[in-house]
Amino acid sequence: MSTLRERFNAVIHLRKPDVLPWLENVYDETLVEWLQQGLPPERVTVIDWEMGRGGTSLANMTTIKGFNPYPLFGCQSLYGSLLQVDIGPIPRFKQRLLKETDRHLEFITETGAIARRSKTGKYAWYNMPMFVEFPTKDRETWHKYRERLNPEDPRRYPKDWDSEAYIKSFESYQDGNTMMRFNGFYGFGAEIMGIPTFNLMFYKDPELIHDMIEYWEYFTVETIRSAVETLQDRIDVVYLWEDFADRHGPCISPKLFKEFFLPHYKRVTGFLAKNKIDRVLMDSDGNINPILDLVAESGINGLWPLEVNSGMNAIEVRKKYGDKFFLIGNLDKSELAKGGQSMKKEVDSKVPVLKELGGYIPGADHVIPVEMTLERFKEYAEYIKPMLAY
């Protein structure tokens, strides 16, 4: 019988596993709901050693590291074992409260943006903050921000970074995939400039966009170089966060993608390929259909979450693009959350067909929403699990 990691690697290389993996991403606040609904905390709480709570003493203390609900349901986390290379601004901006009203809180975040969040709603973070100001607005502010993106800064690697130890750890891990994650070119620009300004600058100041994208290529490659050259294909997949589409389609046109992003993607995926990392997964919500030819050309060969509400259909993508992509997700989260026949219909319409077509890992088409009750997730788990074995 294969390990979970072997199964994952079989599917992403479009080979047939003995059993299909099943990947989910449970949102923290969904988990808090489930704990209140009877999820046994002792079954999902991860307690491990940590040196004196962040290194304040030499005593090895046990501490709650977080929660891992996945094995309990028979699925795996989308993120598996993640190599934490820090691609954020160093030094960080000091996160602090700027303003408070009876309904909202406004913070400056660690990335230098000003974010507003509701204080009246039940869910603080599931309701996503609204970013109202960004650290980069023009050339001058970009040059200032860029000073915080030095790839040589030793703080970018984990405190315990040690080539041999990490090689052993990445070789022995079998509970899922091993992954490295960083922002793609659109995700990077939109995050530091905001979607409207970043999109406008392609027309108003294209040289600025070229400069930003060129620098991001240099910065990411040089930042991850040591990890990539050390671990090579012990990293199963590189995860690129992009989120560059809405329901209508990509935020930038295929023409702009080709001109501004494509050569840089090719160089990044080329660098990875040279180091035997041949699987690159792109995370983008929305309708990415109009841009998929270029995505494939850029060297990206995996797609998640394939959002149904935006018109994405994994069966159509598989049929149109053949083995150019491995696919993860595409089960409509809102239908899954309804449970019963709605859930079964959604699973039945995709999983058996895609299992036969291959290169597909089932899962919800984004994080498990707070509307999904524990009982319904259990029902979904019990329904999907028997379908996974070949």
Partner: protein, 213 residues
């Protein structure tokens, strides 16, 4: 359409530089076209073509935002000449993101398009109480109320707002349009909204259809 007005529409729809588009408008003014003609048959026509290209997936968000910024520059240029040339009002829209949701990107794009296309838009902002929508509807007497939500957790607030409109007796002929990433067409039907738009351009087309004179 005369050449000068057509040139303005072309300049916008081909995403000209702001300086060049301004020169084209200045040329039309010097030829004696009124600001109203320039706005209606040049600028708004250009924006309409951009919308058509967006719906045809020839243009995407960047192009839509740039065209909006271009149109805004051109209206600024026209302002001094418009004192006695009141533009025709296509209709009145009250707009806002419903209670519990603080996101406004899609709403703001719709507002920019509706405003540039000749609608009088009253934007109540984000996290808007149902009673605030009711009060604004009473005050502005709009043809359309646009409700936006990004979050699934805010969907039921759209229903609460519709209920509040009905309870206050102001729903009547008022058309309620839903928009935002969380909203599906079936949900709109389920709660009794008049239409649901999948994007800002579709929303604008729906409003145009409702307010056609």
């Amino acid at each position: 359409m005369t050449d000068a007005l057509e040139n303005i529409a072309i300049s916008i729809s081909t995403l000209d530089s702001s300086d060049h588009a301004k020169a084209v408008v200045t040329d039309a003014l010097s030829q004696g076209f009124s600001p109203t003609e320039i706005a209606e048959k040049g600028i708004r026509r250009g924006l309409q073509i951009v919308g058509e290209k967006y719906e045809a997936s020839e243009y995407f968000l960047s192009e839509l935002l740039y065209a909006g910024s271009l149109v805004s520059d051109l209206f600024e240029l026209l302002k001094p000449s418009m004192k006695n040339n009141q533009l025709e009002r296509k209709g009145v829209i009250v707009l806002g993101t419903v209670r519990g949701d603080i996101h406004d990107l899609g709403k703001n794009i719709f507002k920019m398009l509706a405003d540039s296309s000749g609608f009088e838009v009253h934007d109540l902002g984000v996290d808007v109480e149902p009673t605030a929508f009711v009060d604004q509807v009473k005050e502005s007497r709009p043809q359309v109320l646009g409700l936006s939500a990004l979050l699934t957790t805010a969907l039921m607030e759209m229903k609460s707002t519709l209920d509040a409109l009905r309870a206050a007796g102001v729903k009547g002929n008022l058309k309620v349009l839903l928009g935002g990433n969380a909203v599906k067409k079936e949900f709109g039907v389920e709660i009794g909204a008049d239409a649901t738009a999948l994007d800002a351009v579709e929303g604008l087309e729906i409003c145009r259809g409702w307010t056609k004179k």
